[in-house]
């Protein structure tokens, strides 16, 4: 097994554990410390990061896997988790393929707008797929957006750090590599 493969497996394992930690933070830490105040969707920020930074094919399958993990922390049906996550990925890719920026602010804006898009997509998909669609929860989702914006900055730094540690060809400049293996095909 080559070094790059080992690093890739390690990266997938670490990102999976981080995703578990983010979900646990949101479900078992935040509500017991700050009550019913909406928690930042750390898992969603992570999904945006993966969709933005990772090669597309790898990102798609890994995000599907994360969707499966999500259902362990919620009653969300798998169909809802996967369709809404795919919608979010498509949203991120629209910007990924048009705007090339590595700035922190760009990521924050993308994470926040991604959260907004995810909320809308979720409501619409819920009306389409579920017999008893979800309510809008306007204020709750609005506060979540605010929290996501604030938390996206440290989360980006943290994820970027991990991402770089397990990169076989770590980037030293401001730009990051998106395709690490030749077998992965960009759409």
């Amino acid at each position: 097994m080559s070094r790059s493969t080992i690093l890739l497996i390690l990266k997938l394992v670490v990102f999976t554990l981080v995703f578990y930690a983010f979900c646990a933070f949101q479900t078992s830490f935040w509500p017991f410390v700050l009550g019913s105040f909406p928690a930042p969707q750390l898992w969603l920020i992570m999904v945006v990061f993966i969709a933005l930074k990772w090669p597309n094919i790898r990102a798609v399958f890994f995000i599907y896997f994360l969707g499966l993990i999500m259902t362990r922390y919620s009653y969300i049906p798998l169909k809802m988790a996967w369709t809404s996550l795919v919608a979010l990925m498509l949203f991120v890719w629209i910007f990924k393929n048009r705007i090339h920026s590595t700035s922190l602010f760009y990521f924050s804006i993308l994470a926040t707008s991604g959260s907004f898009f995810y909320a809308i997509a979720y409501i619409l998909i819920s009306r389409w797929l579920e017999p008893n669609p979800t309510p809008v929860f306007f204020l709750h989702r609005l506060l979540e957006l605010g929290c996501n914006f604030l938390f996206s900055i440290p989360i980006y730094k943290f994820l970027e750090f991990i991402d770089q540690r397990f990169e076989s060809n770590p980037s030293w400049g401001p730009t990051t590599t998106t395709a690490s293996t030749s077998s992965e095909v960009e759409p």
């Binding site: 078992s28 509500p31 909406p38 009653y75 979800t134 929860f137």
Partner: protein, 284 residues
């Protein structure tokens, strides 16, 4: 003219020297009366003494006040600290009292029921606002199974939908996927409570002729032997009487606020427990 060859200057000087003590001795003998020439001197000395005495008093007073102020500040800080400590202790005491009362209530409930109950702690909430679930710190290892009822002393909470080895996920009454067999306590009209994922739910299939008002208690139906019969479930908040519909739309709010739950009971066996007092009387 100076036959005796006396030096008058010296003589006068000597005389004066001798006289002054004599005068002073004489003055000492008449203490009650101050001599005329001493009076202005005394006046001035009194004035100066009074002035400096006043000044001294002022300085001493100011110094004392300053020192007192320092002490007061110190005392104040000490007392503030003591007060804060006492307040903290009082708060802890109050918390302990509340906790004791709550635990006593739970213990009494557990003792006085026929049901087989397992206490559990809430360790998590749902990841998304679109669903209303909680996670318990007990799982299959502790005997928990799918579709077991979860209750508190005040009322029903939900049922287990996904038991894991060490934890269990509970669907609350308010989740939009949940459906509960329910009865209006007053009229015994049966219906189904469906969650809305908001704060409450809707009691459906209640005949429009039923007398339902805001404030009526909704209890568990007990048909499935999952929940004990007649256990509080929700309170009616609003009743909609649509002209075209054969049944009422009754909006309800759960008696147990899901956001505030810390400890619950999992009903391992409902043992046909009936909380309707009149049913028991009728049966007897």
């Amino acid at each position: 003219m100076n036959f005796l060859n006396i030096n008058f200057k010296k003589a006068i000087l000597i005389l004066l020297m001798a006289l002054l003590p004599l005068i002073s001795i004489n003055m000492e003998q008449k203490k009650s009366q101050e001599s005329w020439f001493a009076q202005p001197l005394s006046f001035l000395s009194d004035g100066f003494q009074s002035l400096f005495s006043g000044l001294s008093l002022g300085v001493r007073g100011t110094t004392a006040e300053y020192l007192n102020l320092i002490n007061i500040k110190k005392d104040n800080a000490r007392l503030q600290s003591e007060l804060a400590e006492i307040k903290t202790r009082l708060k802890l005491f109050d918390e302990s009292q509340i906790e004791i009362a709550r635990l006593k209530n739970i213990l009494d409930f557990q003792k006085n029921t026929k049901m087989e109950l397992l206490p559990a702690q809430v360790i998590g909430r749902d990841l998304l606002p679109d669903h209303k679930t909680i996670t318990l710190n007990k799982g299959k290892k502790h005997g928990l199974k799918h579709m077991q009822a979860v209750i508190t002393v005040s009322g029903a909470v939900g049922y287990i939908f996904r038991p894991s080895e060490h934890t269990a996920h509970v669907m609350l009454i308010t989740d939009r996927y949940s459906v509960f067999d329910a009865m209006i306590q007053k009229t015994r009209a049966r219906g189904l409570i469906e969650g809305t994922s908001k704060e409450g739910g809707i009691l459906q299939y209640i005949d429009r002729t039923e007398d339902v008002k805001a404030g009526d208690i909704i209890v568990t139906g007990g048909l499935d032997n999952i929940f004990p019969k007649g256990f509080p479930l929700a309170v009616v908040t609003d009743v909609e009487r649509k002209t075209k519909s054969a049944s009422l739309i009754v909006n309800v709010k759960p008696v147990v606020e899901a956001n505030k739950i810390e400890e619950v009971f999992v009903v391992l066996d409902a043992a046909h427990e009936d909380f309707f007092p009149e049913t028991t009387t009728a049966a007897n």
